[in-house]
Symmetry: C2
Subunit: 392 residues, 2 copies
């Protein structure tokens, strides 16, 4: 019987972290060992806090560390991953960080399982084919409309047929400035490219503030308006959706299947965006993809970091042909690019697809990762609960 | 101007932690210093992970440590607490543990504000009177129906007119055993006491499994069935509510206002239970109380730990006369009882109320707390981000 022998966390970081909304500045790599094989995953989450949630002392029966439900467990098939997930849901019910920690571990378990079966993960999930996806260049707005324009020109120069601008100054100064950014993006891209706009929850639950931007978004032909509100502000989503011809997109903040389901049913989003590194991994993301497909909502991955995370995020909807849009990190920090030897590059037609190689099909560049490794030590009652390895 | 000068965390624990569902086995005390005054709060959360979320390195602009939004901030009135909360919602958006960490800090800020104004917190919240609440003895089911019976007899002997049994074996063996526990509880209590049943999310989202228990719950006259499902399984709640004459209760897992709102609107619960130590503190809990009141749903505190947590949990609905039920720790671990000098004891009629003293009105027994203090040290890049104080 194959058992989970070890789970190791590697906290990687750029030397300097800035306040820009760029999630590729650090990473939490997860390596799982079972039956002589290794699997790799990544949490899209605070590395230190996620590590703490794996090793923390138990507080009571429903507030146990994630590690207690993982280490030593059987890993023969997908049903074992589901079983461990259900165990964590009960035994770490009161440990809020648990889904973020578990996500990276879960991804690594799928990778390992795929290697054991010599199958890509999407095949184990039941798909027969990995369909092409149209990658959109995902990037932050410039500080000024002129910078946003330049970035759009650059994305076009690199032949991206779809581009997303997000965060940055939007909602932080005035309506007119936001409109100038929106227009600059469209102008720089030209009229044919798909253009998505992401405002990073800036309006909280304020429907009126978000609604003011709708005419400009319609004018530039935005495919979607992403995250106008807090992930849980379902009523605000529903209210804005009712008055908007531009579809809404959200979901990256969902940390379980139900949250994504409710964004679809109660929030009336047209695009559901799932980060496998937060929602509890590939299993619940697949469940969201199936649900979205049945409800006529388009599934999109949320990925702003490495190509390991990108590969994981493609698996849940690899076989859904009509869900074609794919978030693709456009200008990640060197860390995010360098820590994998394999990459999911665009083909000559500008498309990407989930790989045919076993597992997630991504080889880790341990030497590169080592250069970004952050030293962490956590002691409780003078006992070392976590000390980062000096090697990967 | 009064500014937040310091926030200190004290991780307290019983010498031994068991897997029983008893949340009083450890505690995370929070002390805030501002303008020469001290305020105290408590997180109902994993202490180590919650501390890590206060001190962790920033990952990017929307994944900053909670401390970055708190330390040095102005604290003149409730609007400052709301401002800091909104800041955390944006700047720690991707830090899942943040609401649990912030909850204890927020409570301490209210305590401090009350002391500065020489007013109880419920007055600052706008209430003119602190109405009596009927405390229910909150305890775990016994391992056997005979033990459950004995515990019910003991609660009756101590003159509790309302009792809740929860967790333990329910849903873990078979239907018949569960029914025997339910019947034993009613038998031991006698026919007059209010009896609530809490099954601790054991059915996940399985409506049929929960529904099987309804006839027995009706027979014993249960006031409510608490947490049959995962906090986010709103459809399961709604579906069970539709077929149940026994009202549903839930909410302790809500970590923001919206989650509680959706349990009311989409989950159709009849009782909304809020833990101030998880939902983001007293501010969002008051918002839930107002919402519940407007919707004809009964607000109930969730409290299983100290009388500091109990006092905090009473504030949001102190002035709502018709919301009379109050969860009251019945047999907490010594830690939870000893760490406060003041207690909210039942009066001769068996009622409790939020205190008239300034702030939360609870004095901390620092000497007792010291006996339970757990030594913690967190280092990142050989820099100590947190080292527990040797004194309180």
């Amino acid at each position: 019987m194959r058992k989970i022998d070890a789970v190791d966390f590697f906290y990687l970081s750029m030397p300097e972290i800035t306040t820009e909304g760029d999630g590729s500045q650090d990473a939490l790599l997860v390596r799982v060992a079972a039956g002589g094989l290794l699997g790799w995953g990544e949490c899209e989450a605070s590395p230190l806090v996620s590590i703490a949630a794996f090793v923390c002392p138990m507080s009571h029966g429903a507030c146990r560390p994630v590690g207690a439900s993982v280490l030593g467990q059987r890993l023969e098939g997908p049903e074992d991953i589901a079983r461990i997930a259900a165990q964590i849901e009960l035994d770490s019910m009161d440990l809020l960080q648990a889904p973020h920690t578990w996500s990276g571990v879960e991804i690594a378990l799928w990778d390992l399982l795929g290697k054991a079966r010599e199958q890509p993960v999407w095949q184990i999930l039941g798909y027969r084919e990995s369909f092409r996806k149209l990658p959109y260049a995902s990037q932050l707005f410039g500080d000024t409309p002129a910078q946003t324009y330049q970035q759009a020109v650059e994305a076009r120069r690199q032949s991206f047929r779809a581009v997303k601008f997000g965060w940055g100054p939007i909602g932080r100064s005035d309506l007119q400035t936001d409109i100038e950014h929106f227009s600059a993006a469209r102008e720089g891209l030209g009229k044919d490219a798909l253009l998505m706009i992401d405002v990073g929850q800036i309006f909280g639950d304020d429907v009126a503030a978000a609604a003011e931007r709708l005419p400009a978004l319609k004018r530039i032909g935005a495919v979607w308006l992403e995250e106008p509100f807090h992930t849980s502000a379902l009523n605000s989503y529903a209210s804005l959706a009712k008055q908007s011809s531009v579809k809404l997109a959200a979901g990256e903040g969902a940390h379980n299947f139900h949250m994504a389901q409710h964004l679809i049913d109660f929030g009336q989003v047209g695009y559901i965006q799932v980060d496998c590194g937060r929602i509890g991994g590939i299993g619940p993301a697949k469940r969201v993809a199936d649900y979205a497909n049945a409800k006529g909502v388009t599934f999109v991955n949320h990925t702003f970091t490495s190509h390991l995370a990108l590969s994981a995020s493609l698996q849940p909807y690899a076989g859904l042909r009509s869900h074609e849009i794919c978030e693709y990190p456009f200008a990640p920090k060197p860390l995010a690019r360098e820590i994998t030897l394999s990459h999911i590059d665009r083909n000559k037609d500008g498309y990407v697809s989930a790989l045919e190689a076993p597992g997630l099909g991504i080889e880790i560049n341990t030497e590169a990762a080592l250069r970004y490794l952050v030293d962490v030590e956590i002691q409780v009652r003078s006992k070392v609960l976590f000390a980062s390895s000096k090697q990967i």
